[in-house]
Amino acid sequence: MGETLRIDRIRCDGHGLCAELLPELIGLDDWGYPIFKAVAVPAHLMEHARRAVDACPVLALRLARPASETAPTTRVTAKT
Protein backbone atom coordinates (compact mmCIF):
# COMPACT_ATOMS: atom_id res chain seq x y z
CA MET A 1 0.00 0.00 0.00
CA GLY A 2 1.16 3.51 -0.75
CA GLU A 3 1.13 6.36 1.70
CA THR A 4 -1.73 8.74 2.37
CA LEU A 5 -1.82 12.38 3.30
CA ARG A 6 -3.03 13.22 6.76
CA ILE A 7 -3.64 16.61 8.25
CA ASP A 8 -4.01 17.87 11.76
CA ARG A 9 -6.89 20.29 11.26
CA ILE A 10 -6.43 21.94 14.62
CA ARG A 11 -2.80 22.70 13.84
CA CYS A 12 -3.34 23.85 10.24
CA ASP A 13 -3.24 27.63 9.90
CA GLY A 14 -4.01 27.84 6.21
CA HIS A 15 -0.59 28.92 5.00
CA GLY A 16 -1.36 27.14 1.74
CA LEU A 17 2.14 26.01 0.81
CA CYS A 18 0.94 22.44 0.47
CA ALA A 19 -1.51 23.40 -2.27
CA GLU A 20 1.22 25.26 -4.08
CA LEU A 21 3.60 22.32 -3.97
CA LEU A 22 1.05 19.58 -4.58
CA PRO A 23 -1.79 21.08 -6.62
CA GLU A 24 -2.55 17.66 -8.10
CA LEU A 25 -3.92 16.51 -4.74
CA ILE A 26 -4.53 19.63 -2.69
CA GLY A 27 -6.68 22.65 -3.41
CA LEU A 28 -7.68 25.52 -1.15
CA ASP A 29 -11.06 26.69 0.01
CA ASP A 30 -12.23 30.30 0.00
CA TRP A 31 -10.33 30.95 3.21
CA GLY A 32 -7.06 29.34 2.19
CA TYR A 33 -7.44 26.02 3.98
CA PRO A 34 -6.60 22.80 2.17
CA ILE A 35 -9.15 20.58 0.49
CA PHE A 36 -7.85 17.17 -0.51
CA LYS A 37 -8.85 16.00 -3.94
CA ALA A 38 -7.48 12.60 -2.93
CA VAL A 39 -5.41 11.44 0.05
CA ALA A 40 -3.75 8.39 -1.48
CA VAL A 41 -0.46 9.54 -2.98
CA PRO A 42 0.40 7.88 -6.30
CA ALA A 43 4.04 6.92 -6.75
CA HIS A 44 4.79 9.61 -9.30
CA LEU A 45 3.72 12.34 -6.87
CA MET A 46 5.52 10.95 -3.83
CA GLU A 47 8.43 13.33 -4.13
CA HIS A 48 6.13 16.35 -4.36
CA ALA A 49 4.08 15.08 -1.45
CA ARG A 50 7.20 14.81 0.71
CA ARG A 51 8.15 18.32 -0.24
CA ALA A 52 4.68 19.59 0.70
CA VAL A 53 4.89 17.84 4.07
CA ASP A 54 8.32 19.33 4.74
CA ALA A 55 7.17 22.81 3.74
CA CYS A 56 4.25 23.02 6.16
CA PRO A 57 5.28 25.74 8.64
CA VAL A 58 3.21 24.28 11.47
CA LEU A 59 3.87 20.58 10.80
CA ALA A 60 0.18 19.92 10.26
CA LEU A 61 0.65 17.77 7.18
CA ARG A 62 2.13 14.32 7.22
CA LEU A 63 2.30 11.09 5.30
CA ALA A 64 1.03 7.91 6.87
CA ARG A 65 0.50 4.31 5.96
CA PRO A 66 -3.23 3.70 5.75
CA ALA A 67 -2.99 0.67 8.04
CA SER A 68 -1.74 2.84 10.89
CA GLU A 69 -5.30 3.74 11.71
CA THR A 70 -7.73 0.97 12.42
CA ALA A 71 -9.85 2.84 14.91
CA PRO A 72 -13.50 1.90 14.98
CA THR A 73 -15.21 5.15 14.56
CA THR A 74 -18.01 6.90 16.36
CA ARG A 75 -17.84 9.83 14.05
CA VAL A 76 -21.29 10.12 12.60
CA THR A 77 -21.80 13.26 14.63
CA ALA A 78 -19.75 14.99 17.19
CA LYS A 79 -21.55 14.06 20.34
CA THR A 80 -21.72 10.69 22.01
Binding site: I10, D13, Y33, T74, V76, T77, A78, K79, T80
Partner: protein
Protein backbone atom coordinates in the same frame (compact mmCIF):
# COMPACT_ATOMS: atom_id res chain seq x y z
CA UNK B 1 -42.45 4.42 32.06
CA UNK B 2 -38.93 3.10 32.30
CA UNK B 3 -36.84 6.22 31.95
CA UNK B 4 -39.02 9.14 32.87
CA UNK B 5 -40.69 9.80 36.18
CA UNK B 6 -44.07 11.45 36.45
CA UNK B 7 -43.41 13.43 39.60
CA UNK B 8 -40.95 16.25 40.06
CA UNK B 9 -38.71 14.37 42.47
CA UNK B 10 -35.74 12.16 41.81
CA UNK B 11 -36.36 8.50 42.45
CA UNK B 12 -34.54 7.38 45.58
CA UNK B 13 -32.52 4.21 45.97
CA UNK B 14 -35.21 2.27 47.86
CA UNK B 15 -37.87 2.90 45.21
CA UNK B 16 -35.40 2.23 42.45
CA UNK B 17 -34.39 -1.14 43.95
CA UNK B 18 -37.99 -2.05 44.66
CA UNK B 19 -38.98 -1.31 41.10
CA UNK B 20 -36.11 -3.00 39.32
CA UNK B 21 -34.40 -5.30 41.76
CA UNK B 22 -30.65 -5.42 42.29
CA UNK B 23 -28.10 -5.15 39.52
CA UNK B 24 -27.29 -8.59 38.18
CA UNK B 25 -23.73 -9.76 38.85
CA UNK B 26 -23.05 -11.22 35.43
CA UNK B 27 -19.46 -11.30 34.21
CA UNK B 28 -18.11 -8.63 31.89
CA UNK B 29 -18.13 -10.79 28.79
CA UNK B 30 -21.73 -11.80 29.20
CA UNK B 31 -22.77 -8.21 29.86
CA UNK B 32 -21.15 -7.02 26.66
CA UNK B 33 -22.65 -9.93 24.75
CA UNK B 34 -26.12 -8.98 26.03
CA UNK B 35 -25.66 -5.43 24.85
CA UNK B 36 -24.40 -6.53 21.46
CA UNK B 37 -27.35 -8.89 21.07
CA UNK B 38 -29.75 -6.15 22.09
CA UNK B 39 -28.72 -3.97 19.16
CA UNK B 40 -28.70 -0.91 21.41
CA UNK B 41 -27.25 2.13 19.67
CA UNK B 42 -25.79 5.14 21.49
CA UNK B 43 -28.20 7.98 22.21
CA UNK B 44 -25.85 10.92 22.33
CA UNK B 45 -26.19 11.53 18.63
CA UNK B 46 -23.70 9.34 16.84
CA UNK B 47 -25.70 6.13 17.17
CA UNK B 48 -22.67 3.90 17.55
CA UNK B 49 -23.41 0.34 18.78
CA UNK B 50 -23.08 0.37 22.56
CA UNK B 51 -21.89 -3.22 22.97
CA UNK B 52 -19.14 -2.77 20.43
CA UNK B 53 -18.00 0.42 22.10
CA UNK B 54 -17.79 -1.29 25.49
CA UNK B 55 -15.86 -4.17 23.93
CA UNK B 56 -13.34 -1.87 22.27
CA UNK B 57 -12.57 -0.26 25.64
CA UNK B 58 -12.56 -3.60 27.49
CA UNK B 59 -10.02 -4.99 25.02
CA UNK B 60 -7.63 -2.18 25.80
CA UNK B 61 -8.16 -2.06 29.54
CA UNK B 62 -6.14 -3.79 32.19
CA UNK B 63 -8.36 -2.59 35.00
CA UNK B 64 -7.52 1.07 34.96
CA UNK B 65 -9.98 2.30 32.35
CA UNK B 66 -12.33 5.24 32.85
CA UNK B 67 -16.07 5.54 32.34
CA UNK B 68 -17.29 9.00 31.43
CA UNK B 69 -21.08 9.16 31.66
CA UNK B 70 -21.94 11.92 29.26
CA UNK B 71 -24.75 14.16 30.44
CA UNK B 72 -23.42 17.40 28.95
CA UNK B 73 -26.47 17.69 26.67
CA UNK B 74 -25.50 20.87 24.88
CA UNK B 75 -28.10 20.38 22.16
CA UNK B 76 -30.47 23.35 22.51
CA UNK B 77 -33.59 21.39 21.56
CA UNK B 78 -32.84 18.36 23.73
CA UNK B 79 -33.99 17.93 27.31
CA UNK B 80 -34.06 14.18 27.61
CA UNK B 81 -30.70 13.60 29.29
CA UNK B 82 -31.23 16.17 32.02
CA UNK B 83 -34.77 14.84 32.59
CA UNK B 84 -33.46 11.30 32.89
CA UNK B 85 -30.69 12.28 35.31
CA UNK B 86 -33.05 14.42 37.35
CA UNK B 87 -35.73 11.73 37.57
CA UNK B 88 -33.90 8.42 37.56
CA UNK B 89 -30.35 9.13 38.69
CA UNK B 90 -29.93 5.63 40.11
CA UNK B 91 -30.59 4.05 36.76
CA UNK B 92 -27.84 6.17 35.21
CA UNK B 93 -25.51 5.24 38.07
CA UNK B 94 -26.38 1.57 37.59
CA UNK B 95 -25.46 1.85 33.94
CA UNK B 96 -22.17 3.51 34.76
CA UNK B 97 -21.36 0.84 37.36
CA UNK B 98 -22.11 -1.91 34.87
CA UNK B 99 -19.99 -0.19 32.26
CA UNK B 100 -17.15 0.12 34.76
CA UNK B 101 -17.36 -3.59 35.49
CA UNK B 102 -17.60 -4.49 31.81
CA UNK B 103 -14.66 -2.42 30.63
CA UNK B 104 -12.50 -2.74 33.74
CA UNK B 105 -12.71 0.84 34.99
CA UNK B 106 -11.89 2.15 38.46
CA UNK B 107 -12.89 5.74 37.78
CA UNK B 108 -16.41 6.88 36.95
CA UNK B 109 -17.05 10.45 35.90
CA UNK B 110 -20.53 11.91 35.58
CA UNK B 111 -20.06 14.76 33.14
CA UNK B 112 -23.14 16.92 33.62
CA UNK B 113 -23.98 20.17 31.88
CA UNK B 114 -23.34 23.01 34.28
CA UNK B 115 -26.78 24.49 33.64
CA UNK B 116 -28.55 21.19 34.37
CA UNK B 117 -28.90 21.96 38.07
CA UNK B 118 -31.69 19.52 38.94
CA UNK B 119 -29.85 16.71 37.16
CA UNK B 120 -26.65 17.36 39.04
CA UNK B 121 -28.43 17.65 42.38
CA UNK B 122 -30.25 14.38 41.74
CA UNK B 123 -27.05 12.57 40.83
CA UNK B 124 -25.27 13.99 43.85
CA UNK B 125 -28.10 12.90 46.11
CA UNK B 126 -28.21 9.48 44.52
CA UNK B 127 -24.48 8.95 44.88
CA UNK B 128 -24.78 9.85 48.56
CA UNK B 129 -27.20 6.93 48.93
CA UNK B 130 -24.68 4.51 47.49
CA UNK B 131 -22.07 2.62 49.51
CA UNK B 132 -18.61 4.00 50.05
CA UNK B 133 -16.98 1.77 47.45
CA UNK B 134 -19.21 3.32 44.79
CA UNK B 135 -18.81 6.87 46.05
CA UNK B 136 -15.08 6.40 46.15
CA UNK B 137 -14.92 5.56 42.46
CA UNK B 138 -17.40 8.13 41.20
CA UNK B 139 -17.27 11.86 40.79
CA UNK B 140 -19.31 14.57 39.14
CA UNK B 141 -17.68 17.01 36.75
CA UNK B 142 -19.62 20.01 35.50
CA UNK B 143 -19.51 20.30 31.74
CA UNK B 144 -19.19 23.92 30.61
CA UNK B 145 -22.08 25.27 28.57
CA UNK B 146 -21.71 24.98 24.82
CA UNK B 147 -22.51 22.78 21.90
CA UNK B 148 -19.20 20.99 21.50
CA UNK B 149 -18.26 20.50 25.15
CA UNK B 150 -20.02 17.14 25.09
CA UNK B 151 -18.06 15.90 22.08
CA UNK B 152 -16.13 12.96 23.41
CA UNK B 153 -12.59 14.24 22.92
CA UNK B 154 -13.69 17.63 24.31
CA UNK B 155 -15.13 15.92 27.39
CA UNK B 156 -11.89 14.04 27.99
CA UNK B 157 -9.87 17.18 27.36
CA UNK B 158 -11.93 19.12 29.91
CA UNK B 159 -11.68 16.47 32.61
CA UNK B 160 -7.93 16.32 32.12
CA UNK B 161 -7.05 19.95 31.64
CA UNK B 162 -10.06 22.20 32.07
CA UNK B 163 -10.20 22.96 28.34
CA UNK B 164 -13.45 21.75 26.76
CA UNK B 165 -12.31 22.00 23.16
CA UNK B 166 -12.03 18.87 21.03
CA UNK B 167 -8.58 17.43 20.44
CA UNK B 168 -7.02 15.91 17.38
CA UNK B 169 -7.98 12.29 16.86
CA UNK B 170 -6.74 9.61 16.69
CA UNK B 171 -6.14 8.63 19.38
CA UNK B 172 -9.81 8.51 20.25
CA UNK B 173 -10.89 8.27 23.89
CA UNK B 174 -11.46 4.51 23.75
CA UNK B 175 -7.76 4.17 22.95
CA UNK B 176 -6.34 6.96 25.07
CA UNK B 177 -8.69 9.12 27.06
CA UNK B 178 -8.75 10.51 30.58
CA UNK B 179 -5.20 10.51 32.00
CA UNK B 180 -4.13 8.53 28.96
CA UNK B 181 -6.34 5.59 29.89
CA UNK B 182 -8.85 3.80 27.68
CA UNK B 183 -12.05 5.73 28.30
CA UNK B 184 -15.63 4.81 27.60
CA UNK B 185 -17.54 8.00 26.82
CA UNK B 186 -21.18 7.01 26.85
CA UNK B 187 -24.33 9.07 26.83
CA UNK B 188 -26.35 8.79 30.05
CA UNK B 189 -29.48 7.48 28.33
CA UNK B 190 -27.44 4.74 26.70
CA UNK B 191 -26.15 3.80 30.16
CA UNK B 192 -29.65 3.76 31.63
CA UNK B 193 -30.88 1.50 28.84
CA UNK B 194 -27.87 -0.75 29.37
CA UNK B 195 -28.86 -1.07 33.04
CA UNK B 196 -32.35 -2.20 31.99
CA UNK B 197 -31.02 -4.64 29.40
CA UNK B 198 -28.62 -6.14 31.94
CA UNK B 199 -31.54 -6.90 34.23
CA UNK B 200 -34.05 -8.10 31.68
CA UNK B 201 -31.96 -9.43 28.85
CA UNK B 202 -31.52 -8.53 25.23
CA UNK B 203 -34.70 -10.38 24.24
CA UNK B 204 -36.76 -8.03 26.40
CA UNK B 205 -35.25 -4.98 24.71
CA UNK B 206 -35.75 -6.43 21.24
CA UNK B 207 -39.35 -7.28 22.03
CA UNK B 208 -40.02 -3.56 22.31
CA UNK B 209 -40.52 -1.42 19.24
CA UNK B 210 -43.12 -0.96 16.58
CA UNK B 211 -43.15 -2.54 13.14
CA UNK B 212 -39.69 -3.75 12.22
CA UNK B 213 -37.98 -1.63 14.85
CA UNK B 214 -36.52 -2.88 18.12
CA UNK B 215 -36.11 -1.03 21.38
CA UNK B 216 -37.18 2.13 23.09
CA UNK B 217 -35.80 5.49 23.97
CA UNK B 218 -36.28 9.10 24.89
CA UNK B 219 -37.05 11.92 22.52
CA UNK B 220 -37.60 15.64 23.03
CA UNK B 221 -40.57 17.10 21.20
CA UNK B 222 -40.84 20.84 20.62
CA UNK B 223 -42.26 23.46 18.29
CA UNK B 224 -45.81 23.53 17.01
CA UNK B 225 -47.35 21.00 19.39
CA UNK B 226 -49.67 21.47 22.34
CA UNK B 227 -47.41 19.82 24.91
CA UNK B 228 -43.72 20.06 24.20
CA UNK B 229 -41.41 17.93 26.29
CA UNK B 230 -39.66 14.62 26.74
CA UNK B 231 -41.42 11.47 25.58
CA UNK B 232 -40.53 7.86 26.10
CA UNK B 233 -41.27 6.04 22.88
CA UNK B 234 -40.95 2.62 21.38
CA UNK B 235 -38.56 2.91 18.48
CA UNK B 236 -40.46 2.75 15.23
CA UNK B 237 -43.12 5.16 16.45
CA UNK B 238 -44.05 7.72 13.81
CA UNK B 239 -44.26 11.51 13.77
CA UNK B 240 -48.02 11.01 13.86
CA UNK B 241 -47.68 9.05 17.12
CA UNK B 242 -45.31 11.58 18.59
CA UNK B 243 -47.50 14.54 17.64
CA UNK B 244 -50.56 12.81 19.09
CA UNK B 245 -48.75 12.07 22.34
CA UNK B 246 -47.80 15.75 22.47
CA UNK B 247 -51.46 16.72 22.41
CA UNK B 248 -51.58 17.31 18.67
CA UNK B 249 -50.15 19.93 16.36
CA UNK B 250 -50.79 23.61 16.80
CA UNK B 251 -51.70 24.66 13.29
CA UNK B 252 -50.18 23.46 10.04
CA UNK B 253 -46.70 22.06 9.99
CA UNK B 254 -44.58 21.93 6.88
CA UNK B 255 -41.23 20.74 8.10
CA UNK B 256 -39.76 18.92 11.04
CA UNK B 257 -36.25 19.01 12.42
CA UNK B 258 -35.09 15.51 13.31
CA UNK B 259 -32.06 14.51 15.35
CA UNK B 260 -31.16 17.98 16.58
CA UNK B 261 -28.87 20.59 15.10
CA UNK B 262 -26.62 17.82 13.79
CA UNK B 263 -29.63 16.14 12.22
CA UNK B 264 -31.70 17.65 9.48
CA UNK B 265 -34.94 19.02 8.19
CA UNK B 266 -37.54 16.77 6.61
CA UNK B 267 -40.93 17.44 5.08
CA UNK B 268 -43.54 16.56 7.68
CA UNK B 269 -46.03 15.21 5.13
CA UNK B 270 -43.46 12.96 3.51
CA UNK B 271 -42.20 11.50 6.77
CA UNK B 272 -45.43 11.48 8.75
CA UNK B 273 -45.53 7.66 8.93
CA UNK B 274 -41.80 7.03 8.85
CA UNK B 275 -40.58 4.89 11.77
CA UNK B 276 -38.47 6.93 14.17
CA UNK B 277 -35.68 4.44 14.39
CA UNK B 278 -31.95 4.92 13.71
CA UNK B 279 -31.47 2.37 10.91
CA UNK B 280 -34.47 3.39 8.82
CA UNK B 281 -33.71 7.05 9.28
CA UNK B 282 -30.08 6.68 8.34
CA UNK B 283 -31.06 4.80 5.19
CA UNK B 284 -33.16 7.81 4.22
CA UNK B 285 -30.40 10.29 4.91
CA UNK B 286 -32.01 11.35 8.17
CA UNK B 287 -30.74 11.04 11.71
CA UNK B 288 -32.37 9.82 14.90
CA UNK B 289 -29.44 11.53 16.58
CA UNK B 290 -30.21 12.49 20.15
CA UNK B 291 -33.95 12.15 19.60
CA UNK B 292 -34.93 15.72 18.85
CA UNK B 293 -38.25 16.17 17.04
CA UNK B 294 -39.07 19.81 16.35
CA UNK B 295 -42.21 20.68 14.40
CA UNK B 296 -41.88 23.89 12.43
CA UNK B 297 -45.15 25.75 12.02
CA UNK B 298 -46.00 26.24 8.34
CA UNK B 299 -46.25 30.00 8.89
CA UNK B 300 -42.62 30.05 9.99
CA UNK B 301 -39.97 30.70 7.38
CA UNK B 302 -37.56 27.78 6.98
CA UNK B 303 -34.79 30.03 5.70
CA UNK B 304 -35.06 32.15 8.83
CA UNK B 305 -35.23 29.13 11.14
CA UNK B 306 -32.14 27.70 9.47
CA UNK B 307 -30.33 31.04 9.66
CA UNK B 308 -30.82 31.04 13.43
CA UNK B 309 -29.49 27.53 13.76
CA UNK B 310 -26.49 28.24 11.53
CA UNK B 311 -25.72 31.39 13.52
CA UNK B 312 -25.83 29.35 16.70
CA UNK B 313 -23.64 26.57 15.31
CA UNK B 314 -21.12 29.08 13.94
CA UNK B 315 -21.00 30.70 17.37
CA UNK B 316 -20.33 27.32 18.92
CA UNK B 317 -17.28 26.49 16.85
CA UNK B 318 -14.34 25.79 19.14
CA UNK B 319 -12.48 28.17 16.79
CA UNK B 320 -9.57 25.84 16.39
CA UNK B 321 -9.88 24.81 12.75
CA UNK B 322 -10.06 27.24 9.84
CA UNK B 323 -12.74 25.49 7.79
CA UNK B 324 -15.07 25.42 10.79
CA UNK B 325 -14.29 28.89 12.11
CA UNK B 326 -14.33 30.72 8.76
CA UNK B 327 -16.61 28.36 6.85
CA UNK B 328 -19.41 28.27 9.38
CA UNK B 329 -19.04 31.98 9.95
CA UNK B 330 -19.43 32.70 6.24
CA UNK B 331 -22.34 30.28 5.95
CA UNK B 332 -24.12 31.89 8.88
CA UNK B 333 -23.61 35.36 7.39
CA UNK B 334 -24.88 34.36 3.94
CA UNK B 335 -27.86 32.55 5.42
CA UNK B 336 -28.63 35.61 7.54
CA UNK B 337 -28.56 37.90 4.49
CA UNK B 338 -30.82 35.50 2.61
CA UNK B 339 -33.22 35.23 5.53
CA UNK B 340 -33.38 39.02 5.67
CA UNK B 341 -34.03 39.17 1.92
CA UNK B 342 -30.91 41.27 1.43
CA UNK B 343 -28.62 38.73 -0.21
CA UNK B 344 -25.49 39.37 -2.18
CA UNK B 345 -25.76 38.22 -5.78
CA UNK B 346 -24.26 34.79 -5.25
CA UNK B 347 -25.19 34.01 -1.63
CA UNK B 348 -27.35 30.99 -2.41
CA UNK B 349 -24.82 29.63 -4.86
CA UNK B 350 -22.09 29.99 -2.27
CA UNK B 351 -24.20 28.36 0.44
CA UNK B 352 -24.70 25.37 -1.83
CA UNK B 353 -21.00 25.16 -2.63
CA UNK B 354 -19.83 25.61 0.96
CA UNK B 355 -22.34 23.07 2.23
CA UNK B 356 -20.43 20.46 0.24
CA UNK B 357 -16.96 21.57 1.29
CA UNK B 358 -16.71 21.47 5.07
CA UNK B 359 -17.47 17.86 5.99
CA UNK B 360 -14.45 15.99 7.33
CA UNK B 361 -12.38 19.16 7.53
CA UNK B 362 -12.45 19.86 11.26
CA UNK B 363 -10.69 18.29 14.21
CA UNK B 364 -14.12 17.14 15.37
CA UNK B 365 -17.37 16.67 13.50
CA UNK B 366 -18.86 20.05 14.31
CA UNK B 367 -18.61 21.36 10.73
CA UNK B 368 -19.94 18.05 9.40
CA UNK B 369 -23.03 18.29 11.55
CA UNK B 370 -23.60 21.92 10.66
CA UNK B 371 -23.37 21.47 6.90
CA UNK B 372 -25.49 18.33 7.14
CA UNK B 373 -28.25 20.45 8.59
CA UNK B 374 -27.67 23.14 5.97
CA UNK B 375 -27.86 20.64 3.13
CA UNK B 376 -31.16 19.33 4.42
CA UNK B 377 -32.46 22.91 4.59
CA UNK B 378 -31.33 23.62 1.03
CA UNK B 379 -33.34 20.60 -0.09
CA UNK B 380 -36.44 20.87 2.08
CA UNK B 381 -36.70 24.65 1.73
CA UNK B 382 -35.26 24.79 -1.79
CA UNK B 383 -38.05 26.95 -3.19
CA UNK B 384 -37.90 29.24 -0.20
CA UNK B 385 -34.13 29.72 -0.47
CA UNK B 386 -34.50 30.47 -4.19
CA UNK B 387 -37.24 32.99 -3.42
CA UNK B 388 -35.11 34.67 -0.78
CA UNK B 389 -32.27 35.03 -3.27
CA UNK B 390 -34.85 37.01 -5.32
CA UNK B 391 -35.68 39.00 -2.16
CA UNK B 392 -38.99 37.29 -1.61
CA UNK B 393 -40.34 34.98 1.04
CA UNK B 394 -42.86 32.23 0.38
CA UNK B 395 -43.98 32.15 3.98
CA UNK B 396 -46.33 34.69 5.46
CA UNK B 397 -43.81 36.55 7.49
CA UNK B 398 -43.64 35.68 11.13
CA UNK B 399 -40.51 35.33 13.21
CA UNK B 400 -39.13 31.82 13.49
CA UNK B 401 -39.66 30.03 16.74
CA UNK B 402 -36.74 27.71 16.84
CA UNK B 403 -35.47 28.16 20.34
CA UNK B 404 -31.80 28.91 20.35
CA UNK B 405 -30.07 28.72 23.67
Amino acid sequence: MELITLGPDAEGLATHRQRLGPLPGMPADQLIAELEASGLLGRGGAGFPVGRKWRSVAERSSGGAVVLANGAEGEPLSLKDRSLMAGRPHLVIDGALLAARAVGADDIIFYVGTEHRAAEAALRGALAERPADVRGRARIVQAPAGYVTGEESAAVHFVDSGDARPTTTPPRPFERGVRGRPTLVQNVESLALAALIARRGHAWYRSLGRGQAHGMGLITVSGAVSHAGVQEIELGSSLADVAAAAGGLRGDVEAVLLGGYFGGWALADEQWRMPLEPHTMRAQGLAFGCGVVHFLAARTCGVEATARIMAYLASQSARQCGPCLFGLGAIAAANRRLAGKTPQADDLERLIRWSGQLAGRGGCRHPDGAVGLLQSALTVFADDFAAHQRRRCLTIAEPARVAVA
